[in-house]
């Protein structure tokens, strides 16, 4: 099954709408919203084991909205989104997590956060030693290991 067919067109529309409600685009931070085409494509391509839960979540969302989420007026859309998050249980949490995990690995987003666009391995990171003299007061404490007798 191709990534586009994992969800129905209506489900994909609702996913895009709710994703934009979670993380809208920002001119201030120069980042796209989570409804951005590349983020949405990443979500669909990597749904994998989360597919069933996300489908459940979108079904729940559709029941609450009664029609495409994007067609609701803003106040009603906010109310539905709030109810979705509070009543959606693990399925809603999975949908939100899937949106967040794809958004926060997007190059444009990581660049905006000042993070490097790479896997941790093989370069790793440098960890500063810190001020070891902070330990001096603890070293000055007398040994106080509780004995067994």
């Amino acid at each position: 099954m191709s990534a586009e067919n994992i969800l129905t067109p209506a489900q994909r529309d609702d996913l895009r709408t709710i994703a934009a409600m979670i993380i809208p685009a920002s001119d201030e931070y120069k980042v796209p919203g989570a409804d951005d085409a590349a983020v949405q494509a990443d979500i669909l391509a990597t749904l994998g084991r989360d597919t069933d839960m996300v489908r459940q979540a979108l079904d729940h969302l559709a029941r609450l909205a009664g029609k495409p989420l994007a067609d609701l007026d803003p106040a009603r859309r906010d109310a539905v989104a709030g109810e979705f998050r509070s009543t959606g249980g693990p399925a809603a949490a999975t949908l939100v997590r899937v949106v967040l995990q794809c958004y926060y690995r997007d190059d444009r987003v990581l660049r905006s956060l000042g993070l490097e666009l790479r896997a941790p391995f093989p370069k790793g990171y440098t960890l500063e030693q810190g001020d070891w003299s902070l330990l001096d007061p603890v070293k000055a404490r007398p040994p106080a290991l509780r004995r067994a007798q």
Binding site: M21, P24, R85, G124
Partner: protein, 532 residues
């Protein structure tokens, strides 16, 4: 038909690897069966851009979420603490934080000292040489001289304090409380063929660098060179017994799913505090109707986790976040009994350096501190890279109603009944958790942290699986004797965390492996009359 072996070890994790290596010098024919396979570090999460997402999937700490073919399901619905583990060569050392404290001498005498639970039949001094041997094999970094911990002599220097450690150190000094760089099995210099740590991030979901000690890269290469045979993707269904009530071997499913019988003179179980009682209970027979080695009725009972209480918050200055091993310090300030606190025994404190961006987003959204909508970006930038966490790891006392049984419905992929865990947090542990959370808040406030949040108990915090086949001198009150041999079946040994009498208030892997080496040494000393 498989040729009989002298010693059959079930499980290639922390304790199975240690006992295999130790027994190898006997030149007996030693075979280890493990339900998992060898790990491929090139496929570990930190090698990819999706490294955080994989924690929610194939590298989840929960076997129920991970659901790899090597995993077995666990019904832990009736427990506020969920079992986490890893199955494969190396076992849960593949997926642990590498935090490396030992039980304290006083932990072996809780009845004598504090009037609760039971004393162990062995003491710290008996294990001391095996702690040292195990540290050498696993490779330990740290700083000798902690005034409140057993003396250790790490071969490598401690991890750097980093930004997070320095913030914690200042806060602890302000409060006048003990803290110390923790011993870890993260190599800070090249060590025995392992490359030094380069701070790939969180150590828990396996180390692509090989700096973190897991037994697939520490004990197993030595054991294999010494002639031990390791057969992977072999899941043991049951231990069989003969007409004399001795273990005769095991029935297992091989990598192709074909049922096999393996005869053995000695059987050693190293399957952890959930897998071991599961196997013993699944080995019930006409002679042992309540499960193997279970005349005491204690197989599966007295399950101890370490309930973890966690407080986290956010400081102004940047922390190390995900760019360092997750834990760097410990505190034993509240480790020993002080009855004025309202509970007996105590807890250690672990200090968390921070998390990566996906974790931060997912956890903060779940807690309700990261909003949806226009303000999301501003709040996320305030949180991300500024988190510090304090966790109290509480000593859990043995209670028989906390137990592992066989689930009547749930089965693994081979149709073997799965374990069911029934567990409640005892009154003493609950008071300890509250105390730990209050102290955690004080530490974070001393560090200047705000927006404090609590996870208590940490739900997916059931790493430490202890007590379900306890050791002791009395066959009516214990499953194995003081050197790990079953009271009921004279050629059956248990070497994992199941044999713990009490849990202490620290991560147990160092002690589990020291016990495995101690039991192996006891066996070697008694080879001529092992079954008497």
């Amino acid at each position: 038909m498989n040729d009989p072996v002298d010693v059959l070890i079930i499980g290639a994790g922390a304790s199975g690897a240690a006992v295999a290596w130790s027994l190898a010098d006997t030149r007996m024919h030693i075979l280890c069966l493990d339900q998992g396979g060898w790990m491929n570090p090139a496929q570990y999460p930190s090698t990819g851009r999706d490294w955080e997402a994989r924690f929610y999937g194939d590298y989840s700490t929960s076997p129920n979420v991970r659901a790899r073919p090597e995993d077995y399901p666990i019904n832990d619905d009736n427990s506020p603490i969920k079992v986490v583990n890893f199955n494969g060569v190396g076992g849960s050392t593949v997926m642990y934080t590498a935090h490396w404290p030992r039980l304290h001498p006083s932990d072996f005498k809780v009845k004598t000292l504090d009037g609760v639970a039971d004393d162990w039949p062995i003491d710290y001094d008996a294990l001391s040489p095996f702690f040292a041997e195990n540290d050498r094999m696993m490779g330990v970094s740290g700083l000798s001289g902690d005034p409140l911990s057993p003396l250790t002599e790490p071969a490598m220097p401690p991890q750097p304090l980093g930004r997070s450690g320095a913030i914690f150190g200042k806060a602890m000094n302000k409060l006048g409380w003990h803290w110390w760089p923790s011993d870890t099995t993260v190599a800070t210099t090249d060590y025995e063929g392992r490359a030094r740590c380069i701070n790939l991030g969180h150590c828990t979901p396996a180390c692509a660098q090989g700096a973190k000690a897991s037994t697939d890269i520490t004990y197993w290469p030595h054991a294999l060179r010494a002639g031990v045979e390791l057969r992977t993707h072999c899941r043991v269904r049951e231990i069989t017994t003969n007409e004399h009530g001795m273990a005769s071997g095991v029935v297992y499913y091989d990598k192709d799913g074909v049922e096999q019988f393996q005869a053995a003179e000695v059987v050693i179980i190293a399957c952890n505090g959930v897998g071991t009682p599961r196997l013993l209970l699944n080995s019930a027979s006409g002679r042992f109707p309540n499960g193997l080695a279970n005349s005491s009725g204690l197989v599966g009972k007295n399950l101890m986790f370490h309930p973890y209480g966690q407080v986290y918050g956010y400081v102004e200055e940047p922390t190390d976040s995900n760019r360092a091993p997750p834990t760097c310090l410990w505190s034993k300030e509240f480790y020993d009994t002080d009855l004025s606190r309202g509970f007996v025994r105590g807890y250690a404190i672990q200090f968390g350096r921070g998390v990566g961006p996906v974790f931060e987003a997912v956890m903060s959204e779940g807690k309700g501190i990261l909003p949806w909508g226009a303000d999301h970006h501003r709040v996320f930038r305030k949180l991300n890279g500024h988190r510090l966490a304090i966790s109290a790891i509480c000593e859990d006392l043995p209670e028989e109603h906390n137990r592992v049984t066989l689930d009547p419905v749930l089965k693994d992929s081979h149709g073997i009944p799965a374990p069911r865990v029934d567990y409640t947090i005892g009154a003493n542990s609950a008071k300890m958790l509250e105390h730990g959370l209050a102290r955690g808040r004080e530490i974070l406030e001393a560090a200047g942290a705000t927006d404090l949040c609590i996870n208590s108990p940490i739900p997916y915090g059931g790493w430490h699986l202890l007590g379900t086949a306890r050791m002791g001198p009395d066959p009516a009150r214990s499953v194995v004797n003081e050197w790990g041999r079953s009271h009921d079946v004279k050629n059956l040994f248990i070497v994992d965390g199941s044999v713990f009498v009490t849990s202490g208030g620290v991560n147990p892997t160092s002690t589990i492996q020291a016990i495995a080496l101690y039991i192996a040494d006891q066996m070697k000393q008694r080879l001529a009359n092992l079954f008497d």
